[in-house]
């Protein structure tokens, strides 16, 4: 068995605040295999973005403290010098960020910004880099690359800008593509185009993708494997099919059941998770999800164990035998209006 492309072990990130250090991520471990798409799911404050930014060294070192290990192709990113990180960023690991409206520098043309990245990492001449940029714009489905290359970001629509950001991310053939909510800011018809593009690119370029999202629909369409994060921890991890057909963690149940269906009968009420996600500085002791959990047990005041199965795990006291009963009880509890 080959070693994974990215192996993160016991990653912890905390930020300096007035009350001292606030932990955002606690002992996070996961891996990304060659050529696979891993979806990281979670709500605001779950730490899903911070985890990946910390790995790329994109957090402000004056306020963020990062511990643990993130081995990318065997090199520990967290120990790498700024110079080494600069060589990896944009060349081996590329980032597609959430809001295409603000992700591009407003004062430079599209072409200039793509050429800049190519020339930073390769010895290509300006002319060759320009040709490559046009080629990339064509590959992400932009009809008139030459015209778009001469335009400024504000002259393009959101969908076009996201294509440009993707073209730029692909410019150095990265082996890992990190996409942070790449379609959240887009309309649904444009989102479908961009997701389609990402799937096609994975097939053609063979990069691994880490896709951060909060939309279980996007997960179902894109992921090989899923990592569910809550309150700075992985609460459940597994193959996409397993997670959707038999979710283990009550939080995952909630995520799946709270989405109103597009077809079939309409439920009287949606299954909802009570309360709101905790602020990082107000996370409860024991199981972080306990205050919102409809299946909470007395022992949930203690740190929950990791239940393990073939290729999957969940951070919960409920074991195989208890899950089905607990889940149907949780569903019933919603039916009485609060």
């Amino acid at each position: 068995m080959t070693s994974p492309l990215l192996q993160v072990r016991d990653l912890s990130v905390s930020f300096a605040s007035r009350k001292g250090q606030t932990a955002i991520i606690e002992t996070l471990s996961f891996h990304v295999d060659e050529g696979e798409t891993l979806c990281i799911v979670g709500e605001s404050g779950s730490g899903k973005t911070v985890a990946l930014m910390s790995m790329l060294g994109l957090l402000d070192p004056r306020s963020a403290r990062v511990e643990g290990e993130a081995l990318f192709k065997g090199r520990n990113m967290l120990q790498a010098s700024e110079r080494e990180l600069q060589r990896i960023r944009g060349r081996e690991i590329a980032l597609i960020s959430q809001d295409p409206m603000t992700a591009l520098t407003p004062v430079h043309t599209i072409g200039w910004q793509i050429v800049e990245q190519i020339r930073t990492h390769t010895g290509l001449s300006r002319r060759a880099a320009e040709a490559r940029a046009l080629e990339l714009l064509g590959e992400v489905g932009i009809a008139r690359p030459r015209m778009v290359a001469e335009q400024y970001p504000h002259q393009l629509s959101g969908g076009m800008r996201q294509r440009v950001v993707i073209a730029m991310a692909l410019s150095c053939n990265p082996s890992l593509l990190i996409a942070d909510e790449p379609t959240t800011a887009l309309d649904v018809t444009v989102q479908a185009q961009v997701l389609d593009l990402l799937r096609r690119l994975r097939r053609d370029f063979g990069s691994s993708i880490v896709l951060i999202t909060h939309d279980m629909g996007v997960v179902a369409e894109m992921a090989d494997r899923v990592l569910v994060m809550y309150g700075g921890r992985v609460v459940e991890e597994g193959q996409t099919e397993a997670i959707f057909s038999d979710p283990w963690h009550p939080y995952t149940w909630g995520l799946l059941d709270s989405i109103p269906p597009l077809d079939g009968p309409r439920p009287e009420r949606l299954f909802s998770i009570p309360g709101s996600p905790p602020q990082p500085d107000r996370r409860p002791a024991g199981c972080i999800f306990r205050p919102r959990c409809r299946a909470a047990l007395p022992e949930c005041n203690l740190a929950p164990p990791r239940q393990r199965g073939a290729d999957r795990n969940a951070l919960c006291f409920l074991d195989e035998g208890e899950r089905p009963v607990a889940r149907s009880a949780a569903r019933r509890s919603e039916e009485q209006p609060a």
């Binding site: 479908a192 185009q193 629909g217 799946l256 989405i259 109103p260 309409r266 009420r269 996600p277």
Partner: protein, 339 residues
């Protein structure tokens, strides 16, 4: 599948509508200078007509820039309308001055997308909720205090929150406060503009449920504006789909979602990623080409024809009117799909 068991009782769509909108138009002038006649017209709302019956929720869906929010604001008369009528219980609001509108404002209230931005951060929740009651002279101090506790109970928040400030609450709690404020005056009509889209998924379901509960409890009449199709399906009896300023399809929610008649509705529905894996989830996706054209330069003929997979010559020259189909829904298409 026929005759889906719908959990939400569909009220009889008959009788007098509470709100009747007739040929509403709203045009913005972009790039306007002091010279008369300058600026590009943007037809944000283009000849829109619809009814909402008492106790009904009409869902209004569309992508960004389709004019759905502008329409909502026109109904509230937050914008001046260019032409058309807005009949609330028989009274036309369109020509009324802001002063004449004041008594009408009690009858219709708006819920906004971002509850944080619509609540004054320097006022306590209690003051925020009491304000409309005082402005409209609804009861004395004791009566108002009682009403405030009632409102908090309706939106399932503890009465102790009345003494706190908006920033102390999470997004979901703030949206509950926004809803309580809108309900304070017992309005006849609620216009909810993307009320759940800023919320986390798990919290979104709570607020959607709250809308269902309120409707049952108070027989609320609501225009529910959202871009999320599944949310609209969950809350509304009827749904209207907007594209580039016009309604392209409107009808009872279940048939509209099951068998869309307009190619745009069909594409929109097929584009939503479904949280299921395996063969059951693989639907035939219609990938629309290109993006929504600029509303300042809308295409001739049917506004949707440049992106429509089924466009024909007639679509390029002649603009289809919103006309009824056999099953009671309306569609603006020369070649409707479900017939």
């Amino acid at each position: 599948m026929t005759a889906l068991p719908s959990a939400t009782p569909v009220p009889p769509v008959s009788g007098t509508p509470l709100l009747r909108v007739e040929n509403l138009c709203k045009t913005f002038l972009l790039g306007r200078t002091f010279l008369p006649g300058s600026g590009h017209p943007l037809h944000a709302v283009d000849n829109v007509s619809f009814d909402i019956f008492p106790g009904e929720t009409l869902g209004l869906v569309g992508e960004s820039g389709c004019g759905k929010s502008t329409l909502g604001r026109c109904l509230m008369r937050l914008y001046e309308v260019n032409s058309g009528r807005i009949l609330l219980d028989g009274t036309d609001l369109a020509p009324l001055s802001q002063r004449q509108l004041r008594p009408v404002r009690r009858q219709m209230q708006m819920i906004f997308q971002d509850p944080a931005a619509s609540l004054n951060p320097r006022r306590r929740v209690g003051d925020l909720l009491a304000e409309p009651l005082k402005v409209h002279g609804m009861g004395d101090t004791a009566g108002i205090a009682k009403r405030l506790r009632e409102l908090m109970d309706i939106v399932s928040l503890p009465a102790s929150f009345l003494d706190r400030y908006p920033h102390e609450f999470s997004g979901g709690q703030r949206q509950r406060i926004g809803i309580a404020r809108a309900l304070a005056l017992n309005p006849q009509l609620i216009v909810a503009d993307e009320p759940v889209s800023a919320l986390d998924v798990s919290v979104q379901a709570q607020i959607v449920n709250l809308f269902s509960d309120l409707r049952r409890q108070f027989n609320l009449t609501t225009l529910f504006i959202a871009h999320d199709l599944s949310v609209v399906r969950q809350v509304s009896e009827r749904t209207a789909v907007m594209y580039l300023g016009s309604i392209v399809e409107m009808g009872p929610t279940d048939p509209l979602f099951r068998k869309p008649a307009h190619p745009y509705t069909q594409a929109l529905l097929s584009a939503v990623p479904v949280p299921r894996v395996g063969t059951a989830a693989r639907r035939d996706r219609i990938l629309l080409k290109g993006e929504i054209p600029s509303p300042t330069h809308p295409p001739a003929g049917c506004r949707f024809h440049p992106r429509c997979p089924a466009a024909q010559d007639r679509c390029r020259s002649e603009r289809p009117k919103l006309s009824p189909l056999a099953d009671g829904r309306q569609v603006a298409c020369h070649f409707p799909l479900a017939s």
